[in-house]
């Protein structure tokens, strides 16, 4: 199929689905809406695969030059809004290794989620609305990854934010869902403010939004700032850090991560699609997209590394103490994305051909698959036991064999056990970190160990431990076929994805290179993972009181981690006690009483003045005469004095 036509359709089909389902969905039956949405997504999936395959494998001179260097190619680029001659927002379709990869990731996960939701959301009120929002999200996310310029990215960035808001708040009668959606939107919006200001600063100096111009001549970007500095850092660093702030919001980096755990109030497939596989990696994608520019500022890269490393550790620790299985997965997502961020931060081209970049993208790909798998698995479990907490589960392996096996594959993949996909991508990342500075390498290996521990803690608590007593009254059952097919498919992908020669396709300068495992790093990380899994097995395979004893021993630490180190309380304090009470309310009071009071004062002074002098108008003719007489005498006197 023609490339131009198929790339148009990739964007327009989900948009059309959104409009059709959104406007006429109420009149459709659930079944029709679901099938229509899934079919639309299926076609988009095929088109996206075709486009990605054309890009990677056709060997056409548009996409790859004689030396094997992959080229950047914009399929179409329409002018949407012209600010000035050079500052133009265009809507286009940009093909390069990472956007082609993202097309595959997004459409795959999205299609799986569409299919899965047919079973999971069956009979829910607003089923059509759900599919409409899913299509809207897919459209926005696809638009984001194929953006040809930073402003197009910002546009779709906002759109994914709104779709996420709508989907988190899908169960809008539930107050917790409403407040979670609000929180997600406002926190990311705050981050987007940084993104916007970053774009403004960057465009002020470079006079362009275009990614090609920016990334192909990063030195020119640096030069255009003319060495301007602000508060000790170069303006380029400021711009890049502010843009990264946008990424921090969407990718839930500390301290802007607080919305993601709450976002689990949304339907589980939505969590799988938006809050695990696609939207939350937008921040990573943004940094990767702008990577050549980031290379110009080592301070900005340092910020990314530090934020990433800190977040990864923090989220891993918190994940060890959560009871809600979706929250465990949410924190695990935060931790894994932080992994990717750190890998980008350490990816200097001088070290191993900027291997961190490739590793980060590789992990993005594998993580999307196995994390979607884990979330969908969790959805199947929640569907079966009607609770999010693992205390209501245990011993489920007998009742839900398919879910059990696929979930286990997901856990092994994320823990980094060969030959599952997570092992390869994580190993590449760790190697990159180790090469940059051993500190990051060991630090992140420790985080990887924690990952293995909490994932297996979760796995054992769900599927082993002891059988829950409630099963007698309400026997859990395996999920229907629409739900298990996506699980099986994603599990297969998670098994084999590690063998994709990623270095051939996605590298920072788009030159292919060969990946080889660095066994010294690999052995360390495998040993760490195995040890962590063994500990988890010892703790959680059979019911015992070891975990409880340990918890009691380190009660304060456990409580702090369980309460997520009081970030939410801190935010509550800042927003409610400071901004709301100390800023908004005083301003509103000031407006009503001081500003409006002044205006009312003018009115009442006028009023008073007139009532003070109205007594003169007494209505008695005789007093008028007196005044008249005195007045004329006074005038006469004045005239006389003047004449004399």
């Amino acid at each position: 199929m023609d490339l131009s036509l198929s790339s148009h359709l990739i964007l327009l089909l989900p948009l059309a689905m959104f409009l059709i389902l959104g406007l006429t969905g109420m009149k459709m039956s659930h079944r029709l809406a679901g099938v229509l949405g899934t079919l639309g997504m299926g076609v988009t999936l095929l088109l996206a695969y075709a486009v990605a395959a054309t890009y990677f494998f056709s060997g056409s001179s548009d996409f790859v030059d004689a030396a094997g260097l992959r080229l950047q190619y914009s399929v179409f680029d329409y002018t949407w809004l012209e600010f000035t001659d050079s500052l133009v927002i265009k809507l286009g379709f940009f093909l390069d290794p990472i956007s082609a990869m993202m097309l595959v990731v997004i459409t795959t996960v999205s299609f799986m989620v569409h299919l899965y939701s047919l079973g999971y959301m069956k009979g829910e009120v607003g089923f059509q609305r759900y599919y409409a929002f899913l299509s809207l999200f897919t459209f926005s996310m696809l638009g984001l990854v194929v953006a040809t310029n930073i402003f197009q990215m910002y546009i779709f960035w906002e759109l994914v934010g709104v779709s996420s808001y709508l989907l988190i708040g899908f169960f809008y009668t539930k107050p917790s869902a409403v407040s979670a959606s609000k929180k997600a939107f406002i926190v990311t919006r705050f981050a987007d403010l940084g993104f916007l200001v970053g774009i403004l600063i960057l465009s002020f100096y470079t006079r362009t939004f275009d990614f090609l111009t920016l990334t192909n001549s990063p030195e020119a970007v640096m030069a255009s700032t003319g060495g301007a500095t602000f508060m000790g850092a170069s303006v380029l660093t400021w711009a890049l850090v502010l843009i990264f702030m946008g990424g921090m919001g969407k990718s839930a980096m500390m301290p802007l991560h607080i919305w993601l755990p709450d976002a689990m109030e949304g339907p589980t497939p939505v969590s799988a699609l938006i809050h695990a596989a696609t939207m939350v990696v937008a921040g990573v994608f943004l940094v990767a997209r702008m990577f050549p520019v980031y290379l110009q500022s080592s301070s900005a890269l340092m910020v990314i590394t530090v934020v990433g490393a800190a977040t990864a550790f923090y989220a891993a620790v918190v994940a060890c103490t959560q009871i809600d299985i979706k929250r465990v997965l949410a924190f695990s997502t935060i931790s894994q994305i932080a992994f990717m961020m750190t890998a980008l931060g350490v990816a200097l081209p001088t070290i191993h051909e900027g291997m961190g970049y490739m590793a980060s993208m590789f992990h993005l790909f594998t993580h999307a698959m196995f994390k979607a798998l884990l979330f969908l698995g969790a959805g199947a479990i929640i569907h079966a036991v009607h609770s999010n907490n693992y205390t209501e589960m245990g011993g489920l392996r007998k009742y839900m064999p398919i879910t059990h096996i696929t979930f286990l594959i997901g856990c092994l993949a994320i823990a980094g056990i060969p030959p599952f996909s997570g092992f390869f991508s994580k190993d590449e990342m760790l190697t990159a970190m180790m090469n940059n500075h051993p500190f990051w390498g060991y630090w992140m290996t420790m985080v990887a160990g924690l990952t293995a521990f909490y994932m297996f803690r979760l796995y054992y608590r769900i599927f082993w431990w002891e059988e829950n007593k409630h099963y007698a009254e309400h026997r859990p059952h395996e999920a229907p076929l629409t739900m298990t097919i996506p699980l099986i498919f994603l599990a297969l992908v998670s098994v084999v994805a590690g063998f994709i020669p990623f270095g051939e396709y996605v590298t920072w300068n788009r030159e292919p290179y060969e990946i080889h495992l660095d066994w010294s790093v690999a052995v360390t990380s495998i040993v760490t993972a195995v040890v962590a899994i063994t500990i988890a097995t010892a703790f959680y395979r059979k019911k015992n009181d070891l975990p409880d004893r340990l918890t009691r021993r380190f009660q304060w630490l456990w409580t702090a981690a369980n309460r997520r180190f009081y970030f939410d309380e801190l935010y509550m304090f800042i927003t409610h006690s400071i901004i709301f009470r100390r800023v908004c309310q005083p301003i509103a009071w000031f407006d009503r009483h001081i500003i409006d009071g002044t205006m009312n004062m003018f009115a009442s002074v006028t009023n008073r003045a007139s009532s003070a002098i109205k007594g003169l108008q007494s209505g008695s003719v005789q007093s008028y005469v007196v005044v008249y007489l005195l007045g004329s005498l006074a005038i006469a006197a004045v005239v006389c004095v003047c004449l004399i």
Binding site: F83, I155, Y165, V178, F185, R189, D192, M599
Partner: protein
């Protein structure tokens, strides 16, 4: 005289007034209102088409379709009309809102009298936008203001007499400044200039430099009062809260735009030198408006107050961008006027419809309306998303044009203030989502609300018209950008270049 198409913007409302005077029952009133407002909508469409034709034919005059008829010769007062891209956009906005407003007041009490005043108000609005003569502009401005007093005082709700009085007095205070400014401009042309009231002529010959420093603040504040500039905005919350639905729509949607339009057309267009030097004072005031309005909106509990403060914030952005004196930001300002006009009218229409059912506007007493009146609730969500700047709806386009344009300013002070103004996008999100969360989502607060009905066909028509317009601007911004940006890039840009 009647060969000029623009004059029909005044003729049609006058015919409507005559028609309304003859009506006997509500059906006839509705018929006149619908026919008239549809005619106005069609007329503005025709004017847009002809305007584009003329521009496409290469006519680069500052004002097109001009006409001038002498009215009072000794003072050079003419009924002079003419339009450029900005006025065409404003005419379209006004006719859309008059159209939607007519449907929103379908079941008003004493319809004949109500529509008489409403049509008189729109006569003033249309007359203002087509005039290019200072005196007639001022006259139409007053014609638009006075009916407001009666419309709020008679058909309003709450403490309506107080609000109506406050609104009228404050706006009249503004127009006192304005009159002074206009007379000053007339009597103090630059050296060698003629006494004239014609805007284009004055812009060509300039205003005396020394007097500009006095006249610019006069006119800017005069129009700024209507544009809800801090600290002269306090008429807006009370006025909007008390006004009936259609009047709120027309007032926030169109009348407040008279302020922004006047600030540009009279204060800045005629006195660019003073504007350039005094802009910083007003930039601070409008910058405060933007953030201050948004913060105030966060703690209000009355739907209309929230929206009124949000208008203060959004209209502050209009004046803020105008003062940047660069073509992108000013284009953004006009886009913001269009966008704010449409979406705030949408908001007020929806609030009026919700209030008409629940008889309360206190968000604490309502909840879960999404279940009860899905159409209105979805409309409210869309309006909210437009207001907080969702791409694809008009608010985003306007705000981004303003921010990008303002940030291109060479001066650090202006850029820093742009960042301050940018902060409003976060605060806007806070108060919009707060309302949406409390009002539409969650459980039903009041059991009596369960029996309420969703929108009727005329309400739907009104809401859909506005939503479609908001979406069209949001999806195809470049057309509007070209339309309203053209004057800034040609006639006005040369003036700006001269100063800088």
């Amino acid at each position: 005289m009647f060969s000029n198409i623009l004059i029909y913007f005044v003729v049609i409302p006058v015919l409507m007034l005559a028609g309304l005077a003859l009506t006997r029952n509500i059906k006839q009133v509705r018929a006149v209102a619908v026919v008239g407002s549809t005619a106005l909508l069609a007329l503005s469409g025709v004017v847009l088409y002809q305007f584009l034709q003329l521009r496409a034919a290469g006519n680069t005059d500052p004002m097109l379709m001009t006409g001038s008829w002498s009215w009072f010769e000794p003072l050079n007062i003419n009924l002079a009309v003419g339009v450029d891209g900005i006025s065409v956009a404003m005419l379209i906005l006004s006719s859309i809102i008059v159209f939607a407003g007519s449907f929103a007041s379908w079941t008003i009490d004493q319809p004949k009298e109500f529509f008489l005043w409403l049509v008189l108000l729109s006569t003033g609005v249309f007359g203002f936008f087509i005039s290019i003569d200072l005196f007639t502009m001022f006259m139409f401005y007053e014609v638009a203001l006075i009916p407001m007093y009666l419309l709020i005082g008679v058909w309003g709700s709450g403490k309506k007499e107080y609000s109506a009085m406050k609104l009228t007095l404050m706006l009249m205070g503004g127009s006192a400044f304005l009159l002074l400014g206009i007379l000053g401009i007339y009597y103090h042309p630059a050296e060698g200039g003629q006494y004239t009231m014609n805007l284009v002529e004055i812009a060509r010959q300039g205003v005396d430099r020394g007097w500009q420093y006095f006249l610019f603040p006069m006119t800017f504040v005069g129009f700024g009062v209507l544009g809800a500039m801090f600290p002269f905005h306090t008429w807006s919350p009370d006025g909007h809260a008390s006004a009936p639905t259609a009047v709120s729509m027309l007032h926030a949607g169109v009348l407040m735009k008279l302020g922004g339009y006047g600030c540009f057309r009279v204060a800045i267009y005629l006195m660019p030198e003073a504007a350039n030097e005094l802009a910083w004072i007003f930039l601070i005031l409008t910058g405060i408006s933007v953030v201050y309005g948004a913060f105030s909106a966060c703690v209000q509990t009355d739907l209309k107050y929230i929206n009124a403060y949000s208008s203060v914030s959004h209209c502050g952005l209009v004046l803020f961008a105008i003062l940047m004196l660069n073509s992108t930001a000013m284009t953004g300002a006009i886009m913001q006027m269009l966008s704010h006009g449409l979406m705030t009218a949408l908001f007020f229409a929806l609030i009026g419809m919700i209030y008409g059912r629940t008889h309360t506007r206190d968000i604490r007493e309502m909840g879960g309306l999404m279940k009860i009146m899905p159409f209105l609730a979805v409309g409210y969500v869309i309006a909210g998303l437009a207001s907080l700047g969702l791409p694809g709806l008009s608010g985003f386009v306007a705000e981004m044009t303003i921010f990008v344009g303002s940030f291109q300013h060479a001066d650090l002070f202006h850029r820093a203030f742009t960042i301050v103004a940018c902060c409003s996008i976060v605060i806007t999100a806070v108060y919009i989502l707060r309302v949406v969360g409390k009002l539409l989502f969650g459980g039903v607060q009041n059991e009596h609300h369960r029996e309420l009905t969703d929108a009727t066909w005329w309400e739907r028509l009104s809401v859909v018209t506005l939503i479609v317009c908001v979406a069209v601007i949001g999806c195809f911004p470049n057309f509007f950008n070209d339309l309203v940006g053209q004057p800034f890039q040609t006639t006005f840009a040369s003036i700006i270049d001269v100063i800088k």
